[in-house]
């Protein structure tokens, strides 16, 4: 267990840096998690993070990378539904890093 601070508030995260209570998520906090991951958030980053939050709201899970890639291609266009595009945005893995920034748990089956 650890903590992360954003806008003067302290949030609990697990040993891998995932937010413990996803209802606490907000954009400032997302920005701080991104900083810790050494990611500078652009509109393209936010697009993926917001997509993940919508996916989680609908299905109550964080998708596996393969599923995320396919779903993003469907929603945001085929040029964005590729491993290359997503790994350029999130070099340590779109599912792992983008989920962490989105305040979601680690994807099931993601090791």
């Amino acid at each position: 267990m650890g903590t992360i601070e954003a806008s003067g508030k302290t949030y609990e995260v697990d040993e891998e840096g995932y937010l413990v209570d996803l209802s606490q998520w907000n954009e400032e906090l997302a920005g701080e998690i991104a900083k810790a991951e050494k990611i500078e958030m652009s509109d393209s980053h936010w697009e993926v993070v917001n997509f993940l939050r919508e996916y989680y709201n609908e299905y109550q899970i964080a998708p596996a990378v393969r599923v995320l890639t396919k779903a993003i291609g469907k929603k945001l266009g085929p040029e964005k539904g590729s491993n290359q595009y997503l790994y350029e945005l999130f070099p340590y893995g779109p599912a792992k890093q983008a989920c962490k920034i989105a305040g979601l748990p680690k994807p099931t089956g993601c090791v």
Partner: protein, 124 residues
């Protein structure tokens, strides 16, 4: 795939109601993980397992995660074979319309024949 690259037919057999024990949720997680292995995966719901797919679950008051929406994510994981036993629905006053995903309804003898075609069955 095994060492010869053969795809095996897996059937995950769900026979437990969703919140009284951890079987249903654990089974669902195993199914999601299994999707990464490119096997031929199907899910069967019989006995109290059919309650897992009931529409309108609301777990707010029992302070437990409602994982029923996740069954609708299975399609995105290319898991599209969902079989439900007719006798189990009927014995519980349910019909196909009460379920939150599209399924194939099978009679017990058809379900038995389906099981007989499988390479591996995993029960929850």
């Amino acid at each position: 795939m095994d060492e010869t690259g053969t795809v095996k037919k897996f059937l995950f057999v769900n026979r437990k109601a969703p919140y009284g024990s951890v079987y249903a949720l654990e089974g669902l997680e195993v199914v999601l993980i299994s999707a990464a292995f490119d096997q031929d995966v199907g899910l069967a719901f019989l006995d109290d397992g059919v309650y897992q797919l009931a529409k309108g679950q609301n777990t707010k008051a029992i302070e437990t995660k409602n994982f029923s929406p996740t069954y609708r994510a299975l399609e995105g994981y290319d898991i599209e074979k969902l079989y439900v036993e007719r006798e189990s629905l009927e014995a519980r006053g349910l019909t196909e319309d009460d379920l939150l995903v599209d399924v194939q309804v099978l009679g017990a003898s058809e379900m038995a024949a389906l099981m007989d075609e499988m390479d591996v069955m995993i029960s929850f």
